[in-house]
C-alpha cells in the first residue's frame, strides 16, 4: 500500500471554493494534491478546515470556484471535455463511489433496491445480475439476510455498511468517505471501520475524511492535515502522528489524541 506517484488517479490543482457574500469565506484556499491509485488517503483537520469541502469537490457535489480536478485524464471541474463538448459529469461520477456521514440510504426502497437502482438505471445491468451482485456484496459485509429490509429497520452501523456496498455496486475506481463514522453510536463504529479496512486491503483507492485517528494510523497509507482551507502537512501516518512538524498539526493532535 505504498504511495506510488506513478499512478496518479486524481490530480487537484489550485482548488478554491468561496462561500458567502462576495466570496469572503474561503473554504478551500488553493489546494493542490495528487491522489494515487491503491492508496488510502486520510484527510484530517479541525471542523471548518475544508476537508469535507475538498472531498465533496472531487466528485463535484461542491462546485469549486476555481482550479482544476483531473480525474482519469479529464478535468471534471471544467464544464467541457477536451474536444469542447459539454462534459457528461454523470459518467465520471459513476467511477467515484461516495459514502456520507448520514448514510443517505433511500428510505422508500429496500436494501437490495437501494443497491440495484443505479446499476439498473445507469449501467443498464439486467435486474437478476444486479440483484445477484447485491446479495454477494451484502454477504461480504455480514448482511446477507437484510436484503429485503428497509433502511428504517437497520441500525446505524448496518445502514452505513449498506451505503458502502451500494457505492461498490457501480464498481468505482475510487471510494470517497465523508466522515463515515461520525453519526454512529460508539459501539457501531468498529463494524464500519472493519468493512473499510477490508476494502483497503483489497486494493481499493480510498479518500477518507475522518476523526478516527486509529484508523488513519493503522489503515492509511498517507495522511493529509488541513486547516483553514489549506493542506498544512502531508505524509505517512508515522510522520504525521509520531513526528508532526507544523505547530497547528501539533496543536490539533494534542487535542484529539489524549
Amino acid at each position: 500500500m505504498a504511495t506510488n506517484p506513478n499512478n496518479t488517479l486524481i490530480s487537484v490543482r489550485d482548488l478554491e471554493k468561496h462561500f458567502g457574500k462576495g466570496g469572503d469565506i474561503k473554504a478551500l484556499n488553493g489546494v493542490s494534491v495528487d491522489i494515487y491509485e491503491g492508496d488510502v488517503t486520510v484527510v484530517i483537520g479541525p471542523s471548518g478546515s475544508g476537508k469535507s469541502t475538498l472531498l465533496r469537490s472531487l466528485n463535484l457535489l461542491e462546485e469549486p470556484t476555481s482550479g482544476s480536478i483531473v480525474f482519469e485524464g479529464v478535468d471534471i471541474a471544467k464544464k467541457k471535455d477536451a474536444s469542447g463538448k459539454p462534459l457528461n459529469l454523470d459518467e465520471h461520477r459513476q467511477k467515484m463511489g461516495m459514502v456520507f456521514q448520514h448514510f443517505n440510504l433511500f428510505p422508500h426502497l429496500s436494501v437490495v433496491e437501494n443497491m440495484t437502482l443505479a446499476p439498473i438505471k445507469v449501467k443498464k445491468t439486467n435486474k437478476e445480475a444486479a440483484e445477484k451482485m447485491a446479495l454477494t456484496l451484502l454477504d461480504r459485509v455480514g448482511l446477507a439476510d437484510r436484503g429485503a429490509s428497509y433502511p428504517s429497520q437497520l441500525s446505524g452501523g448496518q445502514k452505513q455498511r449498506v451505503a458502502i456496498v451500494r457505492a461498490l455496486m457501480m464498481e468505482p475506481d475510487v471510494m470517497l468517505f465523508d466522515e463515515p463514522t461520525s453519526a454512529l453510536d460508539p459501539e457501531m463504529v468498529g463494524e464500519v471501520l472493519e468493512v473499510m479496512k477490508e476494502l483497503a486491503l483489497g486494493g481499493m483507492t480510498m479518500v477518507v475524511v475522518t476523526h478516527e485517528m486509529g484508523f488513519a494510523r493503522e489503515v492509511g497509507s498517507r495522511v493529509i492535515f488541513m486547516d483553514e482551507g489549506k493542506i498544512v502537512e502531508d505524509g505517512t501516518p508515522q510522520a504525521i502522528f509520531d513526528n508532526p512538524q507544523h505547530p497547528r498539526l501539533k496543536d490539533f493532535l494534542g487535542k484529539v489524541l489524549i
Partner: protein, 234 residues
Amino acid sequence: MLTGKGFESAFRYIELFWKGTATTVALSALTVFFGFVLALFLSVLRLSKNKPLKWLAIGYVELFRATPMVVQVFFIYYVVFAGVKVLPGFKFLGFIAFDRFFPAVVALALNSAAYLSEIIRSGIQSIDIGQTEAARSMGLSSRQTMQYVVLPQAIKNILPAIGNEFVTIIKESAICYTIGVQDIMSAVNSVKGATFRIGEPLIIATVLYFCLTYPTSKLIAHFERKMSHGDQSK
C-alpha cells in the same frame, strides 16, 4: 320549507341528477389528471436554475391563485374558446356536451395545477438534499434522481395535501354550471326552474356531493397508510 311533496317532484327529475353526477365525476377526474401532469411540470420549472422558466412558473401560480375561479372559468369559456368557435358539438357519453365540458376541464385543470404545483414543490423541497447527493454520486442524472428518488418520497409526504386538493376539485367543479355544463349543480338549477322548489334539490345535491367527496378522502387515507411502510423512523 322542505316538504314531502317537494321531494316527490324533485325526484321526478332524478335522471338529471344521475347524469349530473356522471358529469361531475368525469369533470373532476379529468381535471385531476391534467391538473396533476401540468403541476408536476410547473413544480419542476419552479425549482429549475433557469431564471426565466422559474419566473414563468411563479407568475403562473401567483396569477391563478390570486384571481377568482369564476373569472378564470368565464375567461377560458367566453374569451379563449370563443376564438375557437367550432369546438365539436358532439355529446360525450351520450349526454355531456363537449363544447362546454372541454373548456370547463381546461379552466379547472389550469386552476388546480397552480395549487397542486405549490404542494408538489414543498414536497420536493422537504426531501433531504443528501438523497439527491447520494443519487447523483452514483451517476444518476438529475431527471433520474427526481423520478426514482425524490418524487416517490415527496409524493408520499404530500399525499394528504393532494387528497385535499382532489376533494376541493370535486366541490369547486360546481362552478362550471355557470357556463352550462350539466353537472349536479346544473340539475339543481333545472329542477328549481321546473318545480319552483330550491331546498329539496339542494338537499339531493348535498347528499350526492358528499357521497363523492367522502369516499375520495377515505381512499386517499387508505393509500397513505399503505405507502407508509419502510418509513417508521421518520
